[in-house]
Symmetry: C2
Subunit: 281 residues, 2 copies
């Protein structure tokens, strides 16, 4: 395999494995995690759910905290979790050391502005390079779903909306639904993409949904006690755009839940079943 | 309530709450976590499972990684997770800054040697002070179970074996089964209890089981790829002692599993059901 195995741990009868590889797209070493359910040893090819994490996360948070392996083991679903940005001493980060830009905050787009444009190409990494590696190395099919949380929930929506035919299912937890119009998104987009806001539209799910060629049903869960709901996340903008476009969106406002992995863990089973139904496990 | 609420997060329809309080037993501020399942709002009193974590852990690891809340919410079981030692600038730690003694490594015993004896009294804290606080403050009954991992798995066994009538159920994941005869235990016991090894017997589950007045059935899960199995954990010593004493012990060697929370998460449901059956949820 064109990568180095970092760890291998049994989980719900399957195996959680972490790898390091040299990414051509990002020009740096990247880690990612793969959960292979017990069915991976039976000789067939399994569908894959890609999980994109939020700001500050790595490939580890989801596998440690979401409790997804239990359901993936039941459904025969492979889980793949990449890191959230290029990293390393040769990768430029936030000039002020902030946590909402740069390392851990790649926003799953392809940057166009120096010094970010050379390595901050997480969209191409997540949509092209990583699946090619996974599909060449593990017993998986080309049936792909994508989901994520916060920055990664938005990333999942954008990956699906920009690439018709590439995914069979999509969902998100508390996505930054309209990043053009929130502080996290404005900071990231102005640096990664430049100050010309018309260029931002092609990386904003609420803008993309208006013209989506493929109308994959979207499942979104959002806690109503999420501290970021009104300032950063704005799911109502996505809902309005989806309704105008006739794009099927199920937005569930979950009473009492916040932005944490306790929220994700409470509803991950519903999301995995949503994906499994479309992926044909 | 005689403590300060640090956080409150919805999880599987219930609430995970963290608190800080001044412990009289330990003479320092302590944090603990309580998971209240949805049934806690129905007016009755629920049984409690106490969880004792392993070396280096705090009250947070179990709640973040074990996935126990899902099953506790189904069964109507309250979960309580204390910290693993007294802590703070006024609490002496390991003189060499090691992670296997002192802060995060209280071994759930009552120390007898200076300078540890004054504050390292985790047994009394876990068995007496914390339940008294919990039972005065939350809608819980006096039906108590106890479980834990590694150092905390052993702690759970010792708490149950030393206190007949206090718990209705006990289990452990990868306990340090015979600490008198392993490096972690020898280091801790020689400092907390002094060099006289006969005094160690009253804090070693494998020794205590020989004379246990109450024979609560014990469930133990142990991974067979646990790096600490042969040097530190030694479940076969406990098994031999239990057999000799006619003490009911189910020791399950789980093939492929290691010492991590991925192992715990894979089998926590079985443990919660073991406790719930005895606690009458």
């Amino acid at each position: 395999m064109p990568f180095e195995n970092l760890s291998c741990q049994k989980s719900f009868g399957g195996w959680l494995k972490r790898y390091r590889h040299r990414s051509r797209t990002l020009d740096c070493d990247m880690t990612f995690a793969v959960y292979l359910p017990p069915q991976a040893e039976l000789g067939g090819r399994l569908p894959v759910l890609y999980w994109l994490s939020g700001l500050t996360c790595t490939d580890e948070n989801f596998m440690q905290k979401a409790g997804a392996q239990r359901v993936a083991a039941e459904l025969g679903l492979v889980l793949v979790a990449p890191d959230t940005s290029p990293r390393g001493p040769d990768v430029p980060g936030d000039p002020d050391g902030a946590w909402d830009f740069g390392h851990g905050a790649g926003f799953y787009l392809n940057a166009t502005q120096a010094p970010w444009a050379r390595q901050y190409r997480m969209h191409d990494y997540v949509v092209e390079e990583l699946p090619a590696l996974v599909e060449a190395s593990f017993p998986v099919s080309d049936a792909r779903g994508i989901s994520g949380h916060s920055m990664g929930g938005h990333g999942a929506l954008v990956c699906a909306l920009r690439n018709p035919g590439r995914y069979r299912s999509v969902s998100a937890f508390a996505p930054i639904a309209n990043p053009m119009n929130c502080p996290w998104g404005e900071k990231a987009f102005s640096r990664y993409l430049g100050e010309e806001r018309t260029r931002w539209r092609e990386w904003d799910a609420t803008m993309l949904i208006a013209d989506a060629q493929e109308k994959l049903p979207i499942l979104v869960d959002q806690g109503d006690r999420d501290d970021f709901l009104n300032t950063q996340l704005k799911p109502e903008a996505l809902e309005t755009a989806a309704r105008a476009a006739g794009h099927p969106l199920t937005l569930r406002l979950q009473p009492g839940y916040d932005h944490s992995y306790y929220f994700i863990a409470s509803f991950i089973e519903d999301h995995l079943r949503h994906h499994a139904a479309a992926l044909g496990t």
